[in-house]
Amino acid sequence: MARAVKNKQKIINTVAAWGIGLLIFFPVLWTILTSFKTEAQAIADPPVFLFFDWTLENYAIVQERSDYMRYLWNSVIIAGVSTLVGIVVAVPAAWSMAFVPSKRTKDVLLWMLSTKMLPAVGVLYPIYLIFIQLGLLDTRTGLVIVMMLINLPIIVWMLYTYFREIPGEILEAARMDGASLRDEILYVLTPMAVPGIASTILLNFILAWNEAFWTLNLTAAKAGPLTAFIASYSSPEGLFYAKLSAASTMAIAPILILGWFSQKQLVRGLTFGAVK
């Protein structure tokens, strides 16, 4: 009897989980479906779900009008370089907070997090002016710097929580074995924290990839990543849902595939790391 109840409960849970999952995924699914419709079908009322004339026309037009590869490359550079630079800066910072904490460590961590509480638009004006002064507007370098800085608190927090799980005695053993601080971080701490560092990299790559506020405000044609690519189809063109959907699908495809392949790592990172 107990077993039957358990199974019933399990079925309910599974159905509920799938229901919620599909509900969350539905907008993405709808975008992908719309991208294969004609413009007329895309705005049809009542909407058509699966039974329409499947076409790749939108993709062809989007690719013809704008250079997808250039935007993709910008996204890869901005997300990739900002994440890597962030990691290089954050590992020593997280090391010191996790292994040689001072009275103020908790305050520093909270202060770092507090920078994420300010709405980004609050600092848009000064940053925009600084970018003009330094000639960084619409450059990948400028975006790499901004992206690295806005994600740094999260990277440090995540690495800090990972490093805290590593027993301090192992690092002390390395010190007794003659390792310098550099050797200790490079040969002992980092290899032991690889799972944590990998999920931090992954999460931050995704965050940087999807970041739209700064990329839209600080770039134009030259350094624009995929977010700018999507945006270029939204406003000036009027009601072109199908093409906008095709552009969106092309923009989210790489990160979706990356996320699919690394979901195990990502889930571990999210549950075990910063969001514990």
Partner: protein
Amino acid sequence: MGHIVLENVEKSFGEVTVIPPLNLEMEDGEFVVFVGPSGCGKSTLLRLIAGLEDVTGGTIRIDGQDATAVPPAKRGLAMVFQSYALYPHMTVRKNITFPLRMAKLDQAEQKRRVEQAAAVLNLTEYLDRRPGQLSGGQRQRVAIGRAIVREPSAFLFDEPLSNLDAALRVGMRLEISELHERLKTTMIYVTHDQVEAMTMADKIVVLQAGRIEQVGSPLELYRTPRNRFVAGFIGSPKMNFLEGPEARKHDAQTIGIRPEHITPSSSEGTWKGRVGVAEHLGSDTFFHVHMEECAEPVTVRSGGEVDMHHGDTIYLTPDVEQIHRFDDQGLRIG
């Protein structure tokens, strides 16, 4: 090589003084054991010598050089930790090679030393395994291997056997003692187990609340403990303490007598009591005897099998020569 001197070394964490200023000298080649109850500061003292903690005051000299401000990596000491602290992502070979790699020794010499250490410690067939695939005793041997390849001027052991089961502990104790015989290198060993201290040490340092209570060879501490604390801590089972009229007979506040210095009898003796618990070990028999004169049961050791049981009347005769006398401060008299 391996002559370590502590001069007025003290340590505080914030307001809390863990170790008030103390002086201690460890001769080259000596096996020194720091022993004391939990929280007595013995591990902190070891970590000060290692350089893993900074002293609050005083000087640490290693082979005549002032090492107080020298980082741990440069002190030429090797340490074996209670948790083994092996590098989990490296094979046994890489773990043992690590200090040599850090010292930038050439490849051939690294290989030679690692293989030699592995042979000494019976680790040769495990060299390509990872620490996670080894038993506790094997892990501890890897940790020791990692320490000996450096050929340090002294070894520091921080309760290295307390994570092992009882049988393994006895075996490793012998291995470490043999290692000391072979290497003749200074070893400083921290433990809360007085049996380890008695069996391994050339010199025992008994600590309590960061203070040194007594320094001496195992038998010195056994025969002439300087105070009640050392008397009660060294020796197993513990020394019996009697106060009141019995102690006054010997002109003392307290007298102490070890279980092995009392002869039990079923017919006659100085003291009369009743057997509480009798522990028959075969080789020995321990009686916990309740006497009217004292609140605590008196422990008595008798060699071999003695046919006395719970509730029996027992007579005890202490060996007067072996009675330790303490004054009202707990200090030894005479």
